[in-house]
């Protein structure tokens, strides 16, 4: 290669690098006079600019003017905030849902950003208690920004979003746990406190199970409304399908329906649902005992079901204890331990069947579970017997080995008494 050729090559490389860098650099940001001015302000006038940097709308290229109107390209405040250019200024609370819906109810527009996103939020909101009250002129009720925040709106899947499943109960509680705010509506403000004692909250907050029910799971989100008494069982049944099926076959269903009482909530409560147990069926303080006298047919059925469930639970617990003892002794009992799961499944089935409130329905899965528990218990007992047998065998073997070693030692002594182990070295 000649000197000239190498020089040309070098220039070509440099040109490529420069062009490459230029093409890789991001496009210059579009002018936004709202941001330019409000960035230089203080306090509440500057906050929207700071917050908006993290807003999902900012990421998709929306600017202040898309909601507030005005001209982002104007250099002077008068031009930028000119009513002639559609400047709306502060958005009133009553106007918020319609403003958001301007884009969020536009299927064509939303499809550009999130093809899977629903576009019926406003329609649902208008059916909600919040929406109805807002339409009636009550601006103190929740609108879009009360739950999703404003200028700092994040996607639902963002853990910092106020409507992220783990945060949603606290977001609802901002209003619903405020006794002063709830007083005019005659709504209690203890729901959040109760919810935090429930199994649902435990699953959500302690186990981090994002599919566990929060407020919106039962009440809906945009169409938030208190479940009507008659629909309570159906609300629970969206997750607890089999329980609902059993309940609908039970004598309680028509009775509660005739009374106009909710299904599941009668026994389990609503917001503060605790871990259910056999104690709910029978004994002092049982839930069944609140309506059924112990001597009545219902009371007897409850006692019978409690007895069956207790029997199976105890049998499985005893088998577990024996199998664990065998396993801790080093015995191979993984098969019966695995089989125990069948017994536990039978217990779950029996607990589900209990919601038909007929002892016969519970007896079948209990009998299946008891058969499993008996089998696994026998397997555990056999393993423990084997373990004891091994120990006896070991003791006998050790005795035999020790006797043999003693015999060897005596043989050595006898041998060396006749001929010494250490032969005299030559010349010594």
């Amino acid at each position: 290669m000649t000197r000239n050729q190498s020089g040309t090559g070098f220039m070509a490389c440099m040109a490529c690098l420069v062009l490459g860098c230029a093409s890789a650099s991001p496009a210059a940001p579009a002018k936004d006079s709202c941001v330019e001015c409000h960035s230089n302000m203080e306090g509440a006038l500057r906050a929207p600019v700071t917050d908006y940097a993290n807003d999902v709308h900012s990421r998709h290229g929306f600017s202040c003017a898309d909601c507030h109107g005005g001209d982002r390209n104007a250099d002077d405040p008068e031009g930028a905030m000119s009513p002639a250019k559609g400047f709306k200024g502060h958005i009133t609370r009553a106007a918020v849902p319609a403003l958001c819906a301007h884009c969020h109810s536009d299927a064509t527009l939303m499809h550009r950003f999130k093809p899977q996103q629903r576009v019926d939020q406003l329609a649902l909101y208008l059916t909600s208690v919040h929406g109805k009250r807002l339409a009636a002129g009550d601006t103190a009720v929740a609108n879009c920004v009360d739950c999703h925040s404003v200028h700092n709106i994040r996607e639902v899947k963002d853990p910092l979003s106020p409507v992220y499943p783990l945060k949603l109960p606290e977001t609802c509680a901002r209003c619903h746990a405020n006794a002063v705010h709830m007083a005019p509506y005659k709504i209690e403000s203890n729901q959040f406190a109760e919810y935090r004692t429930s199994v649902h909250w435990e699953a959500l907050s302690k186990r981090g199970d994002l599919s566990a029910p929060n407020c919106a799971s039962c009440h809906g989100n945009h169409g938030a409304t208190p479940p009507q008494v008659a629909s309570a069982a159906e609300v629970c049944g969206t997750c607890h399908v089999l329980f609902e099926e059993m309940y609908n076959k039970s004598p309680h269903q028509p009775a509660f329906a005739a009374m106009g009482a909710g299904g599941c909530t009668i026994c389990h409560g609503n917001h503060g649902i605790r871990k259910p147990g056999i104690a709910m069926l029978a004994g002092a303080g049982s839930v069944c005992g609140q309506c059924h006298d112990a001597t009545s047919a219902g009371g007897a059925a409850a006692t019978q079901m409690a007895g069956l469930l207790t029997k199976l639970d105890n049998a499985l617990t005893q088998s577990d204890a024996i199998l664990n003892r065998a396993r801790d002794s080093g015995m191979e009992v993984s098969e019966p331990i695995l089989r125990q799961m069948e017994g536990r499944e039978a217990l779950v089935k029996a607990r589900v069947a209990m919601h038909a409130f007929q002892a016969a329905a519970v007896a079948k899965p209990v009998a299946e579970g008891l058969a499993v528990a008996a089998d696994t218990r026998r397997a555990g007992e056999r393993a423990l017997q084997d373990r004891n047998g091994r120990r006896v065998g070991l003791a006998l073997s050790l005795v035999t080995i020790l006797v043999t070693m003693a015999g060897l030692w005596m043989a050595i002594r006898s041998l060396e008494s006749k001929a010494p182990a250490v032969p005299k070295p030559a010349g010594r």
């Binding site: 191979e332 993984s334 050790l398 080995i401 070693m405 030692w409 043989a411 041998l415 250490v422 032969p423």
Partner: protein, 357 residues
């Protein structure tokens, strides 16, 4: 004619096998007597445990099936359905661990008694290769039950091989029989465990034992110039060795009966690695050392740096007989003893740290 062909006891065998030469050899074979004679038994105990391994291994082979779908179940079958299968499997696993322990004791006794010195350099080298093969037996056998812990320990072990420059990835791929630990790895490890390693070990054992007979038992250097008492190998030392074997058998039986070797849960390649995964105790010291090394030291990957360090350490240890003497042939006993103590302290301390942390 028929009476001429009839065997006449040992004479008949002697004529054909030359037993009298063997008798003559054993009659003259002696073992030096001194304060550290007891350490001579550990070579024999290691050999005894190896024999147990071979016998129990053959019994396990009758039922074991080397495939991911059947390996775990076949070991479970051995432990629960086969008469005394639990005992055979437990003895196989415990004797493997005891064998590696006694092999290490044997190696350190050779170091501290300075038995590696001229003319026993090749005996030392063959012994170290045998120790390496024993570790190979441990590594390959660990995977065979195809349980969760062994699966992930093998994954970690073969991942380490992949960090070696140039041929690391090829070695890891060769060991695994593919990109990841799977059915092909199990089949390969089974092949190594029951064919390749036993073949090599038998060959090396013959060499090692042959050299021990060729050079006789070594006396420690501090006895040089003195005439040590010698014990007849047969029957006096042999009967004592037999007692040691019985003692080893008692320990082995007790461990197998009181602490049967666990089977654990079946391996699930799609499950996340269990917390606190660690290798067998004899790999704990290097494993813990690698954990302590930062991910990068200067521009070198920490794991690679650790492996290079181990390779240098191993090479230095293998060459012990050659640097143990100075240019005039004087043995550097203090250096070697110091090195032995340092290595033993490192192995014990880091193994304990690796186990408890």
């Amino acid at each position: 004619m028929a009476s001429a062909l009839r065997p006449k006891g040992l004479g008949w065998l002697d004529e054909r096998l030359g037993l009298s030469a063997l008798r003559e050899f054993t009659a003259h074979k002696t073992v030096p007597l001194h304060s550290a004679t007891v350490w001579y038994y550990f070579g024999g105990i290691t050999l005894f445990l190896f024999t147990i391994q071979v016998l129990t291994g053959v019994l396990l082979l009758l039922y074991y099936r080397p495939s991911p779908t059947e390996a775990y179940e076949s070991v479970q079958f051995i432990m629960t359905r086969v008469q005394f299968g639990w005992l055979v499997r437990s003895i196989h696993s415990w004797s493997a661990n005891l064998m590696i322990l006694t092999a290490f004791i044997h190696m350190f006794s050779v170091v501290f008694l300075h038995s590696y010195r001229r003319p026993r350099e090749v005996t030392w080298l063959s012994g170290l290769v045998l120790l390496g093969l024993a570790l190979g037996f441990g590594f390959s056998g660990y995977l065979l039950p195809w349980n969760k812990v062994s699966y992930f320990a093998t994954k970690v072990g073969t991942d380490m091989a992949a960090t070696v420059p140039v041929a690391g990835h090829q070695v890891a791929r060769f060991l695994r029989g593919g990109a990841d630990v799977g059915g092909a790895t199990l089949t390969r490890f089974f092949g190594f465990h029951v064919a390749v390693l036993p073949g090599l070990t038998t060959l090396l054992l013959v060499v090692h034992l042959g050299l021990v007979q060729r050079h006789g038992m070594s006396s420690p250097p501090w006895s040089e110039g003195r005439k040590l008492d010698q014990m007849r190998f047969f029957p006096n030392f042999f009967l004592r060795e037999l007692m040691a074997w019985y003692a080893a058998l008692a320990v082995l039986g007790s461990l197998a009966a009181l602490f049967p070797w666990e089977l654990g849960e079946k391996a699930d390649p799609f499950a996340p690695a269990p917390a606190g995964i660690r290798p067998e105790w004899y790999f704990l010291a290097p494993f813990y050392t690698l954990k302590l090394i930062p991910s990068h030291v200067w521009r070198i990957e920490g794991e690679l740096l650790g492996l290079m360090g181990f390779a240098l350490l191993a090479a230095w240890w293998v060459l012990l007989p050659f640097w143990a003497s100075d240019s005039r042939g004087t043995l550097r006993t203090r250096w070697v003893t110091g090195a032995g103590v340092a290595l033993m302290a490192y192995l014990v301390t880091f193994s304990l740290l690796g186990y408890f942390r």
